[in-house]
Symmetry: C3
Subunit: 280 residues, 3 copies
């Protein structure tokens, strides 16, 4: 039988043995499954970023792939543990703490099931209260990927409307402008990824080559206000020039070509970081 | 024949090609073995941390797994290179420089064999004096994992009593207190991992929910002194509250829920970092 | 049919989903190929370092291995995308922007072919202008590794003389000295890797144990000037002592045993960082 791929994500970092312990548990379940990683550098406790990175990535993986995401500040509390099946036939094993926000909103679920921990914990770990990533999630993820259990055997279904969702920033469009929030950074290159879809932006009338007025506010404080070219790709501007472009999830983004926009202007992320594009 | 898993650990970091060269050598021996990593972010030259991370992780991997650990400040000296077989039937390939300290003390060996470099070096590398990780350890680790050689073919046995051990901090228990050392950090979250076993701690009479007096000293200097709740899991305290808990190797640990204890109080690790838990 | 290994390198870092998206694309092409990584921590936009890390690493991987290197500041411009076959029968998929410099100079190519993007892009990505790593390079790398396409099917051949090369620092040898440049750092340990081959250095008459006069200049500014022992391995000097040694690509290097030479003297890399070894 064809086995599914197993892909891990967490906020554990790679400096100690925590991620390797999860890989080891999965290999102990079945050492013929293929194990990969999304990232383990989610900022500690950032459920928002865990949700976003899943959204950004899962579409590039084959149907059937099992993702295990462990960003779990509420470990040991009564928060549910679930497995979600997406409309595309992929599986996400995670605490139900908001990690499913973006997938639910932008991809959609077929079904969500609550993990029955009495059946799917590693043996003899009933007294372990803080290592669910290793003792529950890695274990059931590997069982699913290997085909040891079916999705139905995970546990009973959860009302889709009841899965936990984080609040998502609003997008507001006028005749000459569109406003939204800075969702996240392309960390390595310091680019700002907004929540404004390409379609909405184009609907305002912006065209490649246009000079666009950009205002960035942190709450009520103006942090940046200047004009930037809307380009097709970084090659459309000089090195060190700023550019508005479409990112890999088809939202509007801003960068400094070969520089770091976020660091240049000390820009952060979250719903209070507002960005506005206005026609000149 | 079923091949064993091969798991690498080092202080090489992942920023250049050194780890990939080891993976390449292993794949050149046999590209059907499955290769994983424990961590490559052991602080440069920290034999202690290499020893600890092995101890923390290997139990989650299947029987037969071959671990290759390369933290080797004495490369090129006359320090022995060995392969240790644990009582659980796993293998550790390493310089005999103290990297086996925790496994020897807390897990135990069946047998240790000295690597016969005349047989198990990569071909034509006799003149390479500083890349044993790639030329010796990765090579013999892959041979063992693939079944090309048996454990007996590694070389002659080493008297178990003679393998190098680092000094381990003492634990002292009184009627109302227990004292130990801060062994290591859960780096990402800044939690302190002590060398005080849960059993000894509970033996003093501490119970879940107790407020415990905690004193931390760096040598003779008091660095921290306050009361902290002994909890079952992080969910027992508020975000930003401190907690005493049992870590994944069943020793006592201290954290700030969703914060970073080590950074908050500038706390380090080693035998001179003493911690005391006292009944109120 | 035996499938080739697929090894990725980039400047994407591991903190978001970009590398995982490439792995996912490759698994979608064929989830039976084995995927590894060289490094993803190439400094952003550093074509030089991408070129060097390939040179440093590929010889340790089996014949037939397919490397995908994505450091691509010119993405979206008219720079060519190519696959190079080395004289040793390995393949490198990369933008033709200088990434092939070291391999071309020190290893050599059999043939280079330009990627025909009309055939080898992922479906429905014609409008994606900035994610060639995922949409073109990962895709064709996986096709090659899996045997879905032959090297000839990549596209038409490119005149070897026309592939882009970065300028490489010169080495100058006199009767009592040799001069060169600091090519790169062994980042983790802060060692300096020069472009001076062991053979040329030995040709000046230096022998193991010699005390060698070393001068390091940044442009015309003298940054370091002292005597250092030429050792066989780090074990030849005390901890904290400096040493001249032969690095893993058989060039001369300088380190502080268990310290960090680059950080100690604020030393950087590039052709303007000149180093001279002189007989005392």
């Amino acid at each position: 039988m064809q086995k599914a791929l197993l892909v891990f994500q967490s906020d554990f970092g790679l400096v100690d043995g925590a991620v390797s312990a999860m890989h080891g548990v999965a290999n102990t379940v079945d050492d013929s499954i293929k194990i990969h990683d999304l990232t383990h550098d989610i900022p500690p406790y950032s459920i928002w970023e865990a949700s976003y990175r899943l959204f950004q990535t899962i579409e590039y993986w084959p149907k059937g792939t099992v993702f295990v995401s462990v960003v779990d500040p509420g470990v040991g509390s009564s928060r549910r543990s679930v497995v979600a099946e997406t409309v595309g036939g992929q599986y996400i094993v995670t605490p139900d703490n908001g990690t499913l926000t973006h997938i639910k909103k932008y991809v959609g679920f077929k079904e969500v099931r609550e993990i029955d921990e009495t059946k799917h914990r590693r043996e003899d770990t009933e007294h372990s209260y803080t290592f669910h990533g290793r003792d529950v999630y890695a274990n059931i993820g590997a069982k699913l990927a290997s085909g040891n259990i079916s999705f139905e055997q995970v546990g009973s279904t959860v009302d889709l409307a009841l899965t936990v969702e984080l609040e998502v920033g609003k997008v507001e469009k006028g005749q000459n402008y569109v406003k939204g929030a800075i969702d996240i950074l392309d960390v390595r290159f310091g680019s700002l990824w907004t929540n404004i879809p390409r379609d909405v932006f184009v609907g305002v009338g912006f065209k490649h080559g246009d000079s666009v007025e950009v205002a960035i506010r942190n709450g009520s404080t103006m942090v940046y206000n200047n004009r930037i070219t809307y380009g097709k790709s970084f090659a459309d501007v000089y090195a060190s020039e700023q550019i508005i472009y479409v990112n890999s999830v088809y939202n509007m983004a801003i960068a400094i070509n070969q520089g770091n926009f976020a660091r240049a202007y000390n820009i952060g992320t979250g719903r209070h970081w507002q960005i506005e594009f206005r026609r000149v």
